[in-house]
C-alpha cells in the first residue's frame, strides 16, 4: 500500500515539474495530464483491499468487495481532466494560429 502512495506522489511531482520546466505549451498540457493521472492513481488505491473483487453487485460472488466511492471519484476526475485537456489543446491550436509559435516567451504578450 505504501509503495503505490509514494509512486502516485512521484507521478504528481513529475507532472508538476513538467509544467514549470517546459517552454512549449503542449508540454505544459502534457505535464498537467501526467499530474492528473497521478491524482487518479492516488484516489483509486485508497479503496484497495487485498484479495477483494471489483464492486459489481449483479450476481457477484460472496467475496469481500473493494470500496466503490474512490473509483467513482476517479471516474469523474478522468472525465473532467479529459474535458480540460481537450479545451486547452484547442486553445493552443488557436494560439499557434494567432501568434505563430507555441513558445511561452513569444506567447507571453501580457507584460506587467
Amino acid at each position: 500500500m505504501q509503495i503505490v502512495f509514494i509512486l502516485s506522489m512521484a507521478v504528481i511531482a513529475t507532472g508538476m515539474y513538467a509544467c514549470i520546466s517546459s517552454r512549449n505549451i503542449i508540454k505544459i498540457i502534457i505535464g498537467l495530464g501526467i499530474a492528473n493521472y497521478g491524482v487518479n492513481l492516488f484516489l483509486v488505491q485508497l479503496g484497495y483491499k487485498a484479495g477483494a473483487i471489483a464492486p459489481i453487485f449483479t450476481h457477484a460472488q460472496s467475496l469481500p468487495m473493494v470500496l466503490p466511492t474512490p473509483q467513482a471519484l476517479t471516474l469523474t476526475n478522468i472525465v473532467i481532466s479529459f474535458a480540460t485537456t481537450a479545451l486547452m489543446l484547442s486553445v493552443s491550436l488557436f494560439i499557434h494560429k494567432k501568434t505563430g509559435s507555441l513558445d511561452i516567451k513569444e506567447v507571453g504578450g501580457l507584460k506587467e
Partner: protein, 108 residues
Amino acid sequence: METYAGFWHVEWFLTAFIILFFITWLIKSLGDKKYKSGIQEDIFLSGHQEKEYSDYIGSENLYWGFKESLRRYYSLMKKMHNGIISEYIFWFYISILIVLTFITFGVI
C-alpha cells in the same frame, strides 16, 4: 454604526454637508460671474496660439514622480509579472511550500 473601536453617524454628516453646501454656495454667489467670451476663454499656454494641441498627458507618463522614486520596486514588479506562465506556476509552488510549512508547524 458602531464598529469595534469607533463609530460613524451618517445622518449628522449629511445634515452638516447640506447646510454647509448651502452656506458655501452663498459665499460663492457673492462673486462676479460674467466674463467676456472669445480669446479670454482659451487655455493659457504662455501666450502661444496653438491651433490644434492635445493637452492630454498620456497615461504612460502620469505619476512619473512616484514611479521614478519607487524605481527599484517597479523594476522588481516588471520582472515578476513578465507574462510567462511557468513563472506564475513557480510562484504557486512556492506558496504551497509556505502554506504547508505554516500549517504543519502551527506557526501562529
